[in-house]
Symmetry: C2
Subunit: 248 residues, 2 copies
């Protein structure tokens, strides 16, 4: 159990159509684990105003931190910022700070209406700086609004993650075995039952060409000081069943 929790909202028709493989949520997930923040849900939704509003309102109540990605660029299909302003019933207007940043970035170039649009946000938000392409994201209450382009998202996320509350990181240990799931299932279930303070996940894999398969067992706990005793139990179980093991 962990009272620091989070949800991710991926806003993007391009993910739902399969055109784009979302990798942003995987990046954010890993960073949250390191920070001791428990990610409860990832939701991929359409670029649709009502859907964005409903999802943001739902998430901001349920989670301590909410991260959105996508839809804050200059084109007509970038409707995230305006939708979020509506969700929070705030004015959608030009942020003077964002305007200044963009004006400097486009110095000597045409600082067009479209480019100025990237300074349009809900009123009174904190900016999330973008060292790569200038256009900032923003923080409104517990919602962090980020872009969809993975390289830009990564740099911006690493800047904000430092300022989030940090929990005790989850202890995680992954053990690989060449035994199949159905061979270990029974005894593994007993080990899980006897160790309620940890979660043991069992993730099978199988390479159909090489015919090599096995299972990765992931022991994790928010509370235990050490996973060693459970690791010992699992090692003994694998040996008893005639299998091999290694730490991944």
């Amino acid at each position: 159990m962990n009272n620091l929790n989070a949800g991710i909202i991926i806003i993007g028709d391009e993910v739902l159509s399969g055109r784009t493989q979302d990798t942003n949520s995987n990046f954010i997930s890993k960073e949250l684990v390191k920070s001791g923040i428990d990610l409860h849900e990832i939701r991929v939704i359409k670029d649709n105003e009502k859907t964005i509003i409903d999802t943001v309102l739902d998430f901001k109540e349920r989670f301590m931190y909410v991260f959105t990605t996508g839809g804050i660029g200059p084109t007509h299909d970038d409707i995230t910022s305006e939708s979020i302003a509506k969700a929070f019933k705030r004015k959608y207007c030009l942020s003077p700070d964002a305007y200044n940043i963009l004006e400097k970035y486009y110095i000597g170039k045409d600082f067009s209406k479209s480019r100025q649009k990237m300074a349009m946000m809900p009123e009174n938000v904190d900016l999330i700086l973008n060292p790569l392409t200038a256009a900032p994201g923003f923080i409104i209450e517990n919602v962090y609004v980020l872009p969809g382009v993975p390289q830009i998202l990564k740099v911006m996320f690493l800047n904000i993650v430092k300022n989030l509350k940090r929990g005790k990181p989850k202890k995680i240990l992954t053990i690989n075995t060449n035994l199949f799931e159905s061979v270990i299932a029974n005894r593994l279930g007993v080990i899980q039952k006897n160790n309620q303070e940890c979660t043991i996940g069992s993730y099978p894999y199988f390479n159909f060409s090489s015919k090599v398969g096995g299972v990765n067992l992931v022991i994790s706990s928010w509370t235990l000081e050490s996973l060693d005793p459970i690791y010992e139990e699992i090692k003994s179980m694998i040996t008893l069943l005639g299998g091999k093991y290694s730490i991944v």
Copy 2:
């Protein structure tokens, strides 16, 4: 608009912890586009009984087709089938058909209790056959329950997609240009406004080492017979703005 729609539920702590990059939803998304089925939402949730029940009940009302992946194996953390039985208020019991399939597959091996667990399902469901590792998925009303291992999921999904209602496939055309989003945003917005029967998505990319960037413009429509007139408008716009274009 399309009245054939779908939602995907990815059940997996391993995705939320960042350990596993989900690729199943991307695979399913692409197949649904080909079948003319409009994917509205992807949700990644925890291996938690209440969460699974609530999400399945919500999705089955909102979407014509619901696909779940993950949590139907033999280990203690595989709780999807039992949770779905509870969601539908059906008995969770041994499917005789699934039992027969598994018994044959494990002939000469130990058909253990753990292996038999993979035949446990809600009562009165249709099986989804698994030609690779035997353990079947199942269909309960409009919910299709599939495994999480990508190679197995793919084969099983291709078997069921043939039997889904097919819509008129969405027409999609992707145009690449070397112009930046902020350069085309204004005129592109006008083209979108004048062509309400299509959706024009604008997806920028930028390679920070080679400094090469541009935009992919995705024109899509469920209703138009041809996207050519819009393609012509976009080509003219790009030429006018001094850019290059190509079909992707």
